[in-house]
Assembly symmetry: C2
Homo-oligomer: 543 residues x 2
């Protein structure tokens, strides 16, 4: 066919628009303007109000001198301001950098410096650490805007000259903004947890965030207008992109400063929450909640869980509470979830514990993920789908990050396979479902045998007294390394080191059972991930 037959068919304004989740917000204003968009205690906003406040934020940022590709940072809880920032900051052309609120001042200072933050919006409840971070930076030149939340319970120190609501009024014509011309433009910058070395700045683009929203609706089979409880911190992978997803399906977002069993049960019953997300520790909190924090759930609730492989026992108990758990897997570098444990009808008749075991697998790729392949760490060839051979998960597609900020070498390294190297070790089951065995660096090598810390943890969780467990390598003269378990018991329950070890020996090959069991509260990240790097340090220093 000659090319001239396709003449005059270039992308023009009529038939091409850069993909951006901001389009969804504009549509919500136009089509669902009167629907509730955000509910937070005694405050609530319709989609028209959320749109207009986001426009005001964008206008205020521009009036404050923020230009395209400048970085605006947020230190905030999951309050309406945090949701608005996900629209208002990119509306101004700037890049949104949400910072983990539980980081230490030095790391916060590192991030603000590396990001080159021009303006910081910070919740006064977080003022102590932010103040230390800014002092640590010295002459930082960052403009500070304070979120002073009347519903926070306590008053925090203001670090800037202006509070957020006043700032919103400082812009010129709020309607004077444009959607991005280039869907490859940066939309957010999120720093990895930095368990090894300095945090890396992961950049998302508008295209990926748009596709992530539509892919989540498809992959999670979201109905029209879900009622979504935002328990996942918005500073973690931009809250798995769910603020943008809710704009795509005109849902309602229920906000809370804190996450607890009581908060979640109350929101489900009082706000008719239909969907929420949370790390397995959040699910554990729910199933282990004392009776007086529970409420009876009488409508279907769907839960997306990620961040760590959830113990089968917890999934089973969630089902009993009326919550349908979908496990997903992803990383900051992949906009959040790229793999989901899609349920198959033929599994409905399996015993509940077998169902829970399947649900604890990570599964298969999301609708908008092009490829997920587990490759041998040396040859980079796909491993056989035998449920045994371990390899590294690699991910390819439009929801893989634009790259690492100010670090082209790290970007090139991460993409060297022609796919993103996750650093996670998994097997592929014969049905194609992947199951994570460990982080590359979490594998325990004992007497030349690889031991999956996740497998040992799964065994420990089956002990009825155990609330939380984590297993790491402990250096050992004879074996090189041995499994060392850290355990939190349920309130009122007791178990000895020997109880746990014998329990594991009954379930696992002998060499996989922990040689050491330590009972104490486990260090966790803001997203509920157990900080294994801290536990490894503990294990190394055990006398």
């Amino acid at each position: 066919m000659t090319a001239e037959h396709f003449a005059g068919m270039d992308a023009v304004r009529a038939n091409y628009a850069a993909l951006t989740p901001l389009s969804f917000l504009v549509r919500c204003r136009d089509v669902f303007g009167d629907r509730e968009a955000v509910i937070y205690g005694n405050r609530s906003y319709t989609w028209r109000q959320l749109h207009d406040r986001s426009e005001q934020l964008a206008a205020a940022l521009k009036a404050a001198g923020i230009a395209k590709d400048d970085v605006v940072s947020l230190m905030a809880a999951n309050t309406p301001e945090m949701v608005e920032a996900h629209f208002g900051v990119p509306m101004s052309g700037a890049v949104l950098n949400t910072i983990n609120t539980r980081l230490d001042p030095e790391t916060i200072a590192y991030i603000l410096g590396h990001a080159g933050t021009k303006l910081l919006i910070t919740d006064t409840q977080l003022a102590p650490n932010v103040k230390l971070a800014l002092e640590h930076m010295g002459d930082h030149g960052i403009k500070i805007i304070d979120i002073d939340d009347a519903q926070a319970g306590t008053t925090g120190e203001r670090l800037g000259d202006m509070d957020y609501d006043t700032f919103l009024t400082t812009g010129n014509d709020p309607t004077d903004w444009q959607l991005p011309d280039d869907e490859w433009d940066a939309i957010t910058l999120s720093y990895t947890s930095g368990t090894s070395g300095r945090p890396k700045g992961v950049v998302y683009h508008h295209r990926g965030s748009y596709l992530m929203a539509l892919g989540t609706i498809t992959g999670w089979a979201l109905p029209a207008h879900p009622r979504y409880l935002y328990t996942v911190p918005l500073f973690h992978c931009n809250g798995w992109g769910h603020a943008w997803t809710m704009a795509a399906c005109a849902g309602t977002i229920i906000c809370n400063r804190t996450v607890s069993a009581r908060v979640i049960f109350d929101a489900i019953v009082d706000h008719n929450v239909t969907h929420f997300g949370g790390a397995p520790v959040v699910l554990g909190m729910l199933v282990n909640a004392p009776e007086d924090e529970r409420r009876e759930i009488t409508h279907p609730v769907k839960v997306m869980t990620a961040g760590a492989p959830p113990p089968a026992a917890i999934i089973e108990k969630c089902s009993a509470l009326g919550m349908e758990v979908l496990q997903v897997y992803g990383l900051t570098e992949t906009f959040g979830h790229v793999v989901e444990c899609v349920w198959r009808d033929e599994w409905n008749d399996l015993p509940l514990d077998e169902q829970a075991t399947i649900k604890a697998r990570q599964g298969v790729r999301f609708p908008v993920t092009e490829d997920v392949t587990v490759v041998d760490v040396s040859t980079r060839e796909p491993v056989p789908a035998d449920g045994k051979t371990q390899g590294e998960i690699t991910v390819r597609g439009n929801t893989v990050m634009k790259g690492y900020f100010r670090d082209p070498q790290a970007t090139a390294d991460a993409f060297a396979d022609g796919a993103f190297k996750s650093g996670d070790i998994a097997v592929v089951h014969p049905n194609g479902y992947i199951e994570i065995k460990d982080r590359l660096k979490d594998v325990i090598i004992s007497g030349g045998e690889n031991i999956s810390s996740v497998e040992v943890e799964g065994a420990i969780y089956k002990h009825p007294a155990v609330a939380v467990a984590a297993v790491v390598a402990r250096p050992d003269e004879k074996w090189g390394e041995t499994p060392c378990a850290f355990v939190e018991l349920k309130p009122g329950e007791t178990a000895s080191e020997q109880d746990i070890i014998e329990h594991c020996r009954a379930l696992l090959a002998g060499f996989k059972a922990p040689k050491t069991v330590i009972f104490e509260e486990l260090p966790k990240t803001a997203t509920g991930k157990i900080q294994k790097f801290a536990l490894r340090e503990r294990a190394r220093n055990l006398s």
Copy 2:
């Protein structure tokens, strides 16, 4: 922010893949390989089989000399071959041209010639007209492959040397194909009905077809694995893109050669159909079906209707049958639907007839449609949202065609507004919902007053004896034009011309009531659209 901070963040294989619905098929093979993809009478294929057959088709096309951007035409019913072609033809890099099976031989010949068709796959049931078309073309040089459907009931003449199933075996390595590098590549070529002048060739691209699928899942709130009855001809806007949509959500497609009330009721009950689409005449067929063709529907069924504004009375009766009707609006040039009549909770308490009136409006833009604006036909400025002022619908977004094939001037004209000019006349209600009043050329101008033929038709449909109605302009010496109605009565019902006119006078301003009513069978297109151009001709020639 300096550009170097974003260094090393170009689109590479790890983080960029051209958007194409073919990705969904590959995912279905990988993830849902054992699920039923297509059911047609005694034949059925899993997603793995559909994928593999599509690969075989692509390989056979390439072995037959078909190259990138070559046009492959289909004259086929909604059988599995038609579904496979939507994947296999673009897999080969070629462009799929599906032809309306009810066209006359001369128009078919025009399309094959204009498209430059290299290979034609044609159902032997359609051989008589196709043969005449090819004879009309003379030395056409088109390779012919025959679909010889054992379930067709009768044997048709083969026009080529090879049947479809044999053709599938003629390729080399079927796995040797690539997804497109460029999402702007053409995927299909569809000719408009050509009610005025020659048909125009509308070209779709992979990007739009991918987004259409995800947008439909979001806009229609499709569940996982819907069971979809393909009553919409796949030659019409590629069956509204639903074959690709079903790949995105791993649904099951139920095929049929014919559309009738019996076929639809049987499929709903026997195949547990959850979703289907059809023009309002198809819905009319269902609600007016004789008792012995009906089956009791005991599960929820959702129906997408488009092609003409559905009479409120028909929507109301569909609800009573257990079918939830979503009216959508779009054109061949917009990949199908771009506007949907989104239901609002506050309308649930309205009387059923008022609900049906609302559902007969076209509504608001789809999730992946950037903009739908109704503009004054002269000034091109938006009309006020007053429910009265008429203007032309314009559409902008990623599901607007790539352009008209071999017609850059027509493309430029259609996009001159910076949006696609639909040629449809509508009003905007105060809530932002649009309501089509007429095709630009269907407005009747009587004594200087504009009369919407759709409004008059709506009144006629409220008469209990009326099955189908269409109103066109009849030239008149005194008034310029007057409304002329063509009516089909329900079996066994009677009504006189005067009955219809008086019925309309009771509902409409006097000048809008038809001056002439003719009772006869109405000419319809293959998609159930009434051929108004033929009726206008009839009205012109009335003595």
